[in-house]
Symmetry: C2
Subunit: 137 residues, 2 copies
DNA sequence: GGTCTAAATGCAAGTTGTTCGCAATTAAAG
DNA sequence: CTTTAATTGCGAACAACTTGCATTTAGACC
């Protein structure tokens, strides 16, 4: 919620500040949009090991610094947790696959939430939680 | 929208009615719930080739007989198109991973859409369509 | 600054869900 | 009954991750 530098996001957490963590977090902060592991990998010139990127993404999720963005099949997307509230809608482009964060979670006209020129073709709504079968342990 | 037998779903479509298609469609009709390729494979005793199942699922999607159900990572789920309207919410159990179809797409209290004993922990909303970058070809 | 150690990294190999190439089989048209 | 294009089964290939392990390194302690 604070300044958003790699160091500020990691401080006070008992996590080693390695060179690759600074680079990965720097890239995440720079993009500002939902990203995948391979987006990161490419944006860093394909130099860092993918396993290192995956391990750091997992760690950052565990710390609540980033969160997973729901995406049908394909690859997993993530977003920086401090820039949006936990449950907001996303716009997914059926052509280029880019994912856009949308404002507002409360009932409101779609047009007001999406700047013009977005054409909505499908809406996906999914609730996640615990089903009756699993409630009775 | 009609009776829902393997033959009725395939008729008038210029598609060969093979033994495995009848078996696959039969199983899909029987389950009535969202299913994955491996759900089908197992429910058929692991006898049919998985590639055949995948190829038929792809064909059935193309024909609009089944449709993909959004699911975060893991495997792809599908549902029979004729039993629900195209855009309805789903409930995903965080423990067993089962996916439940929910009634209603219109604003309405969650409690009325989910029979009791479902605990909602997260809500995912995703719009899919064409973004501004892709609108200008 | 130098030493030490647990944690992190890079590399290679493994896993999982899905797709593809190809020869053998089969639905269904004639 | 023929014929043939579509479909199937099988194995190999793929893509996105994940894991094991030897090497490196951050940073705690001197
Ligand atoms: Mn977002
Ligand atoms: Mn459904
Ligand atoms: Zn686009
Ligand atoms: Zn459950």
């Amino acid at each position: 919620m604070g300044k958003c530098t790699p160091e500020s996001l990691l401080e006070g957490r008992n996590i080693k500040i390695t060179r690759q963590r600074q680079i990965v977090l720097g890239a995440i902060i720079d993009t500002g949009k939902p990203f995948s592991a391979s987006d990161l990998h490419e944006s860093l010139g394909n130099e860092m090991d993918l396993a290192t990127i995956y391990r750091n993404l997992e760690m950052l999720c565990g710390e609540g610094i980033i969160r997973q963005v729901m995406n049908e099949k394909e690859r997993q997307y993530y977003e920086l947790a401090c820039i949006h509230n936990p449950e907001h809608p996303h716009f997914y482009c059926n052509i280029c696959g880019k994912i856009y964060c949308m404002k507002q979670d409360k009932p409101m006209r779609l047009k007001k939430r999406l700047p013009g020129d977005f054409t909505v073709e499908q809406t996906v709504l999914q609730y996640r939680g615990i089903c009756p079968d699993c409630s009775k342990e």
